[in-house]
Assembly symmetry: C2
Homo-oligomer: 321 residues x 2
């Protein structure tokens, strides 16, 4: 455990026991044609087939299971309109807890519908950071509901780490992991789990060029905030790296690969055409990094986490080769 | 075994042993939301994740493994430009045999490229039935190569039956199977395997309205040829039912459901959006039949074969909800 990490390997194995029967143990797929294209042997952990279509179900489920009964009775709240919002709504419903999700008033109807379909109550707010924070604070005061953030929380990180735990259990002789990095919950949890299972495992992160605060932080040797508005097709990776996840990036990740959106979209379409898997851009960025040839790996056994599959099908088909 | 079937249960278990290490044992997926939408419990056999992207790899592999050494040395030939052509090219390459595929001169470049990528030699012919038959006959005479048809052959039928064998081994208590029907190799093999594993298993076939010779044959009680040019988005199901597969349709299949193309496309998009699986129209028709409400099943445990995933991504995304 790195000196200032808030999660250790045992937290992740405990999370795995806790959420075992509730989330899917997702399959690992291989592809001869993508192996040939990459010059490595790739093992794809298909979290696009996870409940709610993304790994986020793991962290949400773990965080909710860890709530003290008294806190749980007041329900949970979050302000993510993406995969974490859906995952928390789902996990709360499974546990019989109330869930409130703060969303900007201009959030797409389809995202509102997805959260509502899992039984959560939506609170629309002014579509600004201030409006969002104000709405969350008001609801927390009113309800006493526990706020569950999307990535900067030990229980979330431990839950996400179970992805690598399962992958290394199935393939204990991997040489490396390639993980998408946005807020860093998946990256940190999987780096801790992976190196806990296999000391010396090489860990790489993949990040959009247009949201490269993790790469900049790694280069600077200190945790830097985003230096401009993040832009990328990888909607799940637009957030800044969480403070709790910085130590894992600093101490466990060998390099952060910056990936162009065009590379990510091409990888997404390869996953659909060759492997018949619907993967969202944030989930395809790891393969894009591998295929870019910029990783210092040849003939290696590489675990690649396909983190989610919640993509507009029109985007999947647009400009397809 | 029906009196005039050419394949029995033992042929299928033998095929399973023969092809076991060569083709994928594909996973079975479930979906709570599609269960709720259908009012049944669905078990999806994901042959879209099979080698070459379709169940056809099974029959091709079995047929090639069954060739006497002397015949094998002269190679194999077929005239399918679809999934069977690719599957035979792949299976021949695996076995180190030469493969020739006759294709109409106007076959899409992408299909030619797919067959060529598996190492087969393409022979372009005049794009008419006569031109095709002439090219096949000429090549067979020249090379002495063995012709392996796409569905009307016992070894092909036995190979395709291994799909249901695996499905029933994983879920022995299914009440029903829903199978796409075109030439009928998959339908016949799976009906024989399924009812061999579980006597009394109810078997339904799903067929495009625009290619309904199986439904018409079933209604008439005798094997009828297509009565017009078949048209459907389900390109794999445009052929007429094979004579060897008619006895299984007659004796084992409870009903043939006719499905509109719009229903098939909607099911294809549901499989992509809810289950994150890329499935071609021919592979989605079984789910379309289940969701149509026209099957006499409620609260039943139904195996649905997703037969393949070779679809143009633009088609997957077009008009997506």
């Amino acid at each position: 455990m790195s000196a200032d990490e808030t999660v250790d390997f045992d937290d992740i194995t405990a999370a795995a026991s806790r959420i075992g029967g509730r989330v899917h143990h997702t399959p690992v797929f291989t592809s001869r044609s993508l192996d040939a294209a990459s010059g490595n042997q790739l093992f794809f952990k298909a979290e696009n087939l996870q409940r709610c279509g993304a790994f986020k179900a793991r962290g949400a489920c773990n965080a909710i299971a860890r709530l003290p009964a008294e806190a749980a009775s007041r329900g949970v709240i979050t302000d993510s309109s993406g995969n974490h919002g859906q995952a928390l709504a789902w996990a709360a419903a499974q546990a019989g807890l109330a869930c409130r999700v703060v969303m900007p008033a201009d959030a797409p109807a389809v995202k509102q519908a997805a959260v509502a379909a899992y039984g959560a109550q939506i609170h629309l707010c002014t579509p600004t950071l201030a409006g969002r924070a104000e709405a969350v604070a008001r609801l927390r005061a009113q309800m006493g509901a526990c706020y569950i953030p999307p990535f900067n929380h030990p229980d979330i990180i431990a839950g996400q780490g179970t992805v690598a735990l399962e992958l290394l259990q199935a393939h204990p002789d991997l040489d490396a992991l390639v993980l998408p990095v946005g807020g860093g919950g998946l990256m940190a949890g999987c780096a801790i789990a992976g190196q806990g299972m296999r000391p010396g495992l090489r860990v790489f992160a993949a990040e959009p060029t247009g949201a490269n605060d993790a790469a900049r932080s790694k280069a600077a040797g200190r945790h830097l905030p985003p230096d401009r508005e993040h832009r990328s097709v990888a909607g799940g990776l637009l957030v800044g790296l969480g403070s709790l996840n910085w130590p894992s990036l600093r101490d466990r990740v060998e390099a952060v690969l910056e990936v162009e959106d065009a590379e990510t979209l091409a990888a997404m379409r390869l996953l659909a055409s060759r492997m018949k898997l619907v993967v969202e851009p944030s989930g395809a960025i790891g393969l894009a990094a591998v295929l870019s040839g910029r990783l210092p790996l040849r003939g290696a056994r590489i675990g690649v986490v396909l983190s989610g599959g919640n993509v507009d099908l029109a985007q999947l088909g647009a400009d397809a080769p």
